[in-house]
């Protein structure tokens, strides 16, 4: 087996895992704290990518695109919470699924109206589009950049939640909303903030994948399902669980796509193997979730305080 290739695939897997974590973190917090199933979580992922792409193309600077897109998704997050989500926290999951599905349809159409049916691709600055040699292995520098940036965001999130007063309020609201309110925490604001931060994290994920796979309509509704799988595996409401599950899912997907066709080719014809391999990788993810639900219904790492 080719070691350089393996290292590259591992890097890709970790990168996908971290992107999934950025999506899953917000989803898991919103779900864990407000009991709100948000299928429209992918909307800010998509909008982040589109805003970043537009600014980056106009100014020819990816960094400017990034700087513009992050506050844009934050505002979008507050708007979605205020207009839609907040009215559904106390409703049953069925209503939440439908309302957020409606939101997905609206957002996809709006994007089609504003940016047209064709996707956008984002140019990378020269210093990010090259390759870097690390310990004798050549790696694409942008993937390393994603890993570093996403890891920094993940650590930042963890620090905010565990070390700050605001984080304490979030944790208090999560474990017992009524008690938190009785102690003088404005849970309404905590909810709005959590939702908006979650949307921003998803937006950052969208910004980061934009240079790799471009911005396209429907990019959010596909990946939000994977992010949901991640939080089910990790345990709803658990950030640490989401982190580990996201890395696991990212690695299964990437390594499966890379190596399953080769493994299958030993048994089946090459044509069958090359088309069935990637599918099998996706199926493996859903089977993993199924097994987790059978043996540990509340996820691998359920939050301790609930």
């Amino acid at each position: 087996m080719n070691t350089v290739l393996l290292i590259n695939q591992l890097l890709n897997g970790v990168q996908l895992g971290l992107i999934l974590f950025l999506l899953a973190a917000g989803l898991s917090l919103v779900f864990g704290i407000m009991d709100f199933i948000n299928l429209a979580h992918g909307v800010s992922y998509m909008i982040g990518a589109y805003v970043c792409a537009t600014i980056a193309i106009a100014t020819n600077s990816f960094i400017l695109g990034m700087i513009a897109a992050i506050p844009a998704t934050l505002v979008l997050g507050f708007a979605m919470e205020w207009l839609i989500a907040r009215h559904f926290y106390k409703r049953d999951h069925l209503d939440q699924v439908l309302a957020t599905f409606g939101l997905v349809l609206c957002a996809d159409s709006a994007v089609k109206y504003i940016w047209g049916p064709r996707g956008l691709s984002v140019p990378l600055p020269a210093w990010l589009s090259g390759q870097i040699e690390v310990l004798g292995v050549t790696l694409p520098s942008y993937r390393l950049f994603i890993v570093a940036a996403a890891a920094a965001v993940a650590i930042g999130l963890w620090l905010v939640i565990t070390q700050t007063r605001a984080g304490m309020m979030v944790r208090a609201s999560a474990s017992n909303e009524e008690m938190a309110r009785a102690l003088g925490i404005e849970t309404r604001w905590v909810f709005a903030l959590v939702f908006a931060i979650g949307a921003t994290l998803a937006g950052i994920a969208g910004i980061m994948v934009a240079p790799i796979s471009g911005a396209s309509i429907g990019m959010g509704s596909q990946i939000v399902i994977l992010a949901l799988v991640v939080i089910i595996i990790g345990g709803i409401g658990s950030i640490g669980g989401a982190f580990i599950a996201a890395l696991g899912v990212g690695l299964i997907d990437t390594l499966g796509r890379a190596y399953l066709p080769t493994i299958l080719a030993a048994v089946f014809s090459p044509a069958v193997a090359s088309s069935a391999g990637p599918s099998l990788a996706s199926i493996l993810i859903y089977l993993t979730m199924t097994f987790v639900l059978i043996f540990k219904p509340s996820g691998l790492f359920p939050p301790a305080n609930r």
């Binding site: 069925l94 799988v229 979730m289």
Partner: protein
């Protein structure tokens, strides 16, 4: 729902005069009969008006109505929110497609395979899924749909991502060929009528009552000596098999099947249909399917961005009309 809520809910339902509930059900049942009657007349009227195109819309609505009615058994009656129900449409349609690909066009064989495979898949996945609750049930049904979705994407010999064109329609003997539009129309209408009438019987049966009771309070149903799991599994298998039948009909109608037909957005559309029509009602699924397709035709004719207005409509329906349009028809705002 906690037990306390269940007590409040049941006593609230009880305080409603009985004859009102009965009248509501009767009105719903009459609405279903009226729609079926109009659908039976539609081909003649449309033919006179020279609007044969609308026949296709009605056909699609009836097929979606059958699929939605099967989902109604799960969501409306049993409170089991499945976000993967479209998978059975796909299994039914692919059964026709793959068998036709192997030159087997005997409708009886295709139908048997479509319904058996759907029922079997529902049985196997139901054994696992029905042990979970709430959002986990939503996610696990979604996962089981995604698994079949990716299997069909991966099977390149059956079209993979691009889908499978079905060159032969199902035939029953020499007489009945589902490729003929009028034949297909009345077969679909017959199936729809059968499904809706069965549903109205199930609602009143002990089986339906038990599913409803288990939706309200699982613990109490167990306390009086019934195991809700077995009844739910039976409902799940029946719903899967009926939806597979809808898939069988759909394959004959469109002569085409893609993995996309099993995507979660299609499952969400089925949920939308029964919510708009009225959760747990007899007329709801077909009413919702008609509204869904009329909206699609109407908005789609006005603008390419019709999904935007459709999405807004969807949100509005969830916010405003809790009992769906059939609920308004029955003069009741609350869900059954």
């Amino acid at each position: 729902m906690t037990d306390n809520n269940a007590i409040v809910a049941t006593s609230a339902e009880r305080s409603e005069p009985v004859h009102d509930a009965v009248r509501g059900h009767d009105r719903d049942f009459l609405a279903a009969l009226l729609i079926l009657f109009l659908l039976a007349l539609a081909p003649f009227i449309l033919n006179l008006a020279g609007q044969d195109f609308w026949l296709d819309v009605l056909l699609r609505a009836m097929i979606l109505g059958i699929a939605a009615a099967s989902l109604n058994l799960l969501i409306g009656l049993s409170g089991l929110v499945s976000l993967g129900h479209a998978v059975f449409l796909g299994i039914g349609a692919y059964s026709v497609g793959i068998l036709a690909d192997m030159d087997i066009t005997n409708g009886a064989i295709q139908l048997a395979v479509a319904v058996t495979l759907s029922g079997l898949y529902a049985f196997v996945t139901g054994l696992i899924a029905l042990r979970t609750r709430g959002v986990h049930f939503i996610m696990i049904t979604l996962a089981f749909a995604q698994i079949i979705y990716f299997i069909m994407v991966g099977l390149r010999q059956f079209g993979g991502d691009d889908g499978l064109t079905i060159n032969f329609t199902s035939t029953f003997g020499d007489r009945i060929d589902l490729g003929q539009k009028p034949v297909l129309y009345y077969v679909v209408l017959g199936v729809l009528a059968l499904v809706l009438l069965s549903f109205s019987r199930i609602i009143k049966s002990d089986f339906g009552l038990l599913l409803k009771a288990a939706k309200g309070s699982e613990r109490r149903v167990m306390a009086i000596g019934f195991d809700p799991f077995r009844y739910r599994l039976a409902a799940y298998v029946a719903a899967g098999a009926v939806c597979g039948l809808a898939g069988f009909l759909d394959a004959n109608f469109t002569s085409f099947v893609t993995p996309e037909s099993m995507s979660w957005t299609n499952s969400a559309e089925l949920i939308f249909i029964i919510i708009v029509g009225g959760l747990g009602t007899v007329s709801g699924p077909i009413l919702g399917a008609l509204i869904f397709l009329l909206l699609e035709e109407f908005l789609g004719g006005l603008t390419t961005y019709w999904h935007f207005w459709f999405g807004l409509f969807l949100i509005a329906v969830v916010v405003l009309a809790k009992g769906g349009l059939a609920g308004l028809l029955n003069g009741r705002g609350a869900r059954t």
